[in-house]
Amino acid sequence: MTLTAAAVDLAVDLGPLRLANPVVTAAGTFGTGREAAPTWTRRASARWW
């Protein structure tokens, strides 16, 4: 049986933190968050932020 994308587990334990996936934004390149909001709120934000 082939593996489907839906079956893949992206969760990681970053020491004491459990993250839903391994991708974060780098300090200083996303401002405080508000600056990037126009591109973000309509998109995946609710899911991965």
Partner: protein, 263 residues
């Protein structure tokens, strides 16, 4: 997300120009511009909390005690997942030498933050050092929950028509794809020396393959920075594409790939 570094007092940042494009990357000299921790807590944090954004707060300072003072202002506040102590800044108590260049100065700043913090403290290091593993070990010994590797590399661009530095602040931090091999090497170096220490990789990542490369070198998470300036949704696009990429190669869990290149 990791927010822009906040400091004890507001900072205006450095004079312009603050950014210049370089081959496969860019130099920036923002100079830690931020409203100061009190204004940040009053204005920006509630915005993030209202949207349920898992927030890692980057903090910076010019003396070890500053890290403790900023961490204390953040203590107990809801919505903060962790602190990232940016120790790649000049230490006024050490003739302006960057904290992260010295294991003892790094340890002092981290210890101050850890003592005041109510959340895990990660430490952001620079690869501009002789022995990165030694600095990472000092951070871990001072109580760091993990390290972020790497901050920008110090660079200089000169305008050959005027003979003056291109950036208003003189030197700047190099980021983008140009530094990715250096960042991946830094991750591998620390992962090998300190196998139990969680690592957030950073430096030029802009694709699924780049993220996987950092993970295979030993990173647990990967930060997306400069790629955001050309394609603002890069981080989300990678999250969307990762499962398909892994499934196509028969990988059920991203964690199974961590440190593969070190074996």
């Amino acid at each position: 997300m990791v927010v822009k570094s906040v400091t004890r007092e507001p900072r205006a940042g450095r004079p312009g120009p603050r950014m210049v494009e370089t081959p496969a990357g860019m130099l920036n000299a923002i100079g830690l511009q931020n409203p100061g921790v009190d204004a940040w807590v009053a204005r920006d944090l509630p915005w993030l909390v209202a949207r349920g954004v898992p927030t890692i707060v980057s903090i910076a300072g010019s003396a070890a005690a500053d890290y403790g003072a900023v961490a204390a202002r953040l203590a107990g506040r809801p919505g903060i997942l962790a602190i990232e102590a940016n120790v790649s800044c000049p230490n006024v108590e050490d003739r302006g030498r960057v904290f992260a260049r010295d294991p003892a100065a790094t340890g002092a700043a981290v210890a101050a933050a850890v003592a005041a913090a109510t959340v895990p403290v990660f430490v952001k290091l620079t690869a501009d050092v002789t022995d990165l593993a030694e600095v990472a070990a000092a951070a871990a010994a001072a109580g760091a929950a993990g390290v972020t590797l790497v901050n920008t590399l110090l660079g200089l661009a000169v305008d050959v028509e005027t003979g003056r530095p291109v950036l208003g602040g003189g030197t700047g931090g190099l980021s983008g794809p140009a530094i990715r091999p250096v960042a991946v090497r830094a991750v591998a170096e620390v992962a090998r020396a300190l196998p139990g220490l969680p690592i957030i990789g950073a430096g030029g990542a802009r694709s699924v393959a780049d993220v996987v490369e950092f993970v295979m070198a030993g990173a647990t998470a990967v930060a997306i920075g400069t790629a955001t300036f050309t394609a603002p949704t890069t981080a989300a696009d990678i999250v969307d594409a990762l499962p398909g990429w892994l499934a196509a190669r028969g990988h059920r869990r991203i964690t199974d790939l961590r440190g593969l290149a070190l074996r």
